[in-house]
């Protein structure tokens, strides 16, 4: 079971509500994914309004809502959005996104750290979206982040875990859960991140724009489970040369 800030999750697949062809397709896909944690853009929903097109199809007893600050250009905007979400009943969890470049939507490390510090002080459970920078992950963790969410590749690109080497260091060093977020374009990418030891992955675009979002959601659920199981079972190390499965190791001269 995955635990973040005292809350446990059976599914290690986190999902999002963006880019779907309709609220109904989104609902069906998210249910099929088995995901329990769903991130919603504060700019897109009206949390206080039960008739909101997204809010009306997602049962908050079933899905844990993780409001995100998508669109924020700096720490001040992100903090303001998070506080607004809390005031309209969004709870005190926030997926922090500070993305000043509207084209790549890459996260601003400086402003993300500032906002994390401020939001933690204000009593929020903060899950920052970040570039795959191991030192930044440590800084955010020290600032009180409840998890870190390094990107696999730029959001929406479906390129997979291009930041593999850095993500591995982040996983090795982290005291808090590591959720690989953004760029996961195929179930194999999700499995890869999970095999590496990521605690969870967040997938949105790849499900939302799939030919059949419901079946794609199921495929991701299986991949995440398989990847996690492989990680827990202990993968054999990768080698550059072939090796016999009954090893002699060239040590058969030893007598005692």
């Amino acid at each position: 079971m995955l635990t973040i800030a005292g809350k446990t999750f059976r599914s290690r697949l986190f999902t999002g509500t963006g880019k779907f062809s309709s609220p109904e397709v989104m609902q069906e896909a998210l249910l099929a994914s088995g995901s329990e944690m769903v991130t919603v853009a504060l700019r897109r929903v009206d949390l206080a309004n039960p008739a909101d097109d997204i809010m009306r199809v997602l049962d908050r007893d079933h899905f844990f809502f993780l409001p995100n600050t998508a669109g924020a250009r700096n720490a001040a905007e992100a903090v303001r959005l998070a506080k607004l979400a809390q005031a309209s009943g969004g709870g005190n969890w926030v997926k922090l996104e500070v993305t000043p470049d509207p084209r790549t939507l890459l996260p601003d490390p400086v402003e993300t750290l500032i906002a994390t510090e401020e939001l933690v002080k204000a009593g929020f459970v903060v899950l920052p979206y970040m570039n795959a920078d191991p030192i930044l992950a440590l800084r955010l963790q020290d600032a009180g982040a409840a998890a870190v969410m390094p990107l696999g590749s730029p959001i929406g690109t479906n390129q997979g875990v291009l930041t593999r080497f850095q993500v591995a260091i982040i996983i090795e060093q982290a005291r808090v859960p590591v959720v690989v977020d953004a760029g996961i374009g195929a179930p194999s990418h999700a499995a890869e991140a999970m095999e590496m030891g990521a605690d969870a992955v967040l997938v949105n675009t790849a499900i939302a724009v799939a030919g059949d979002p419901v079946r794609m959601a199921q495929a991701f659920a299986k991949a995440v489970e398989a990847g996690r199981e492989a990680y827990e079972a202990g993968l054999g190390a990768r080698r550059t040369e072939a090796e016999a499965s009954s090893p002699q190791g060239g040590l058969d001269f030893l007598r005692e």
Partner: protein, 374 residues
């Protein structure tokens, strides 16, 4: 500052593009200006279907299966410019009107109650009637009721844009009309708008002031649309580099041959417009692309999912026209008369989600001290 490339050179560059250049452009991931020139050329006409596919795929990946909806709100039809193509031109004998603050709010509330959350405030250029003060007051009155408020009014100064940003204005659209200086001089007969370079630098002033989004465009039908497309490519490249925090959008207002009194100087067909839209989408996959109600329902429905990301609906181009449907004095004829609900239904029928809210006023609610300096 952005310097407009020589229009005739742009035309020559496009004319020099052959089928090989088109093939190269279509095989590439990131396109350069030479590739854009190729995709705008006659040599690319036979590849329109391939461009459509590519454009649809890029649009879906970047924006998802969604179309954002908005409505224009005309504040005033007074104008001190004389522009050969425009219904609001100073020389035209027509009933003119500027909305009072109460009237503007009443019009806005009609749009609000219809379900709009993103609106575009529009006016002619008559600073004595609609100046920064006026726009600021309207913005402050509307900011709590709408998620995003854009303006399409006369070019302003940087500090004026900053003031409007603080009052809740999200984005600014300023169309150059044409990047062809010769034609620009021919059709802009009198008024401040005659200054080509001041207008050209307007997107930069708005971006400098911190606006979230800046929109450019050419009025299609004034000059060679292919070269207009390449000029916009140059403009966009410049803006992307200089203002990396600013979102960019493009609109495609087209003078339609059959409608209105002004006959296009160089007619742009639906096929031409389509090629232009796809070429720009392939050149810059992150552009917000507008397709307004100037175009007919058939065309707008056909283009759903292929490139444009923002649609208006139920538009009226007469100040006060939402409340008083008998009001006359429109800027241009509407091609798609359908209501917001009807357009939303057409969007759903294509397997896309009509999105009414994709921004929030909270982004710009600054600290009280900075809210209003005056």
């Amino acid at each position: 500052m952005f310097v407009a490339p020589d229009f005739q050179q742009l035309r020559a560059r496009i004319a020099a593009s052959g089928p090989e250049a088109v093939e190269r452009a279509l095989a590439k991931g990131r396109l350069e200006l030479d590739d854009l020139a190729a995709l705008l050329s006659p040599a690319a006409e036979s590849s329109l279907a391939v461009m459509a596919q590519r454009s649809a795929q890029l649009t879906r990946q970047r924006f998802g299966n969604v179309i954002q909806l908005y409505a224009p709100l005309y504040l005033s039809s007074f104008c001190t410019n004389r522009c050969a193509y425009c219904g609001f031109s100073a020389g035209n004998a027509m009933p003119r009107r500027v909305l009072s603050f109460e009237e503007a709010e009443a019009e806005a509330m009609i749009l609000h109650d219809r379900g709009f959350s993103h609106i575009l405030l529009v006016s002619g250029e008559a600073p004595a009637k609609v100046g920064v003060e006026y726009l600021e007051t309207v913005a402050l009155r509307l900011r709590d009721k709408f998620a995003a408020i854009a303006i399409e009014v006369q070019p302003l100064e940087t500090d004026e844009y900053a003031r409007l940003f603080a009052a809740g204005i999200t984005s600014v659209a300023v169309y150059q009309e044409t990047y062809d200086r010769t034609v620009y001089d021919q059709v802009h007969l009198a008024g401040k708008k005659r200054d080509f370079d001041y207008r050209l630098a307007t997107p930069e002033r708005a971006a400098t002031a911190g606006l979230r989004e800046v929109g450019i465009g050419a009025l299609l039908g004034l000059s060679d649309w292919r070269a207009e497309g390449l000029a916009m490519g140059h403009h966009l490249s410049y803006l992307r580099k200089a203002f990396w925090r600013t979102g960019l959008t493009v609109s495609f207002p087209r003078i339609r041959p059959a409608k209105g009194e002004f006959a296009p100087l160089m007619p742009v067909s639906e096929r031409d417009l389509t090629q232009l839209i796809f070429a720009l989408r392939l050149f810059d996959p992150d552009l917000g692309l507008y397709l307004s109600t100037r175009e007919e329902a058939r065309y707008r429905d056909g283009m759903l999912g292929l490139g444009p990301t923002r649609y208006s609906a139920g538009s009226c181009t007469v100040p006060g026209g939402y409340g008083d449907t008998a009001a006359t004095g429109a800027q241009f004829e509407i091609g798609d008369q359908r209501s917001l609900d009807e357009v939303s239904e057409a969007i759903r029928a294509k397997g896309l989600d009509p999105v009414r809210k994709d921004w929030d006023a909270v982004f710009q609610q600054q600290d009280q001290g900075r809210r209003r300096a005056a």
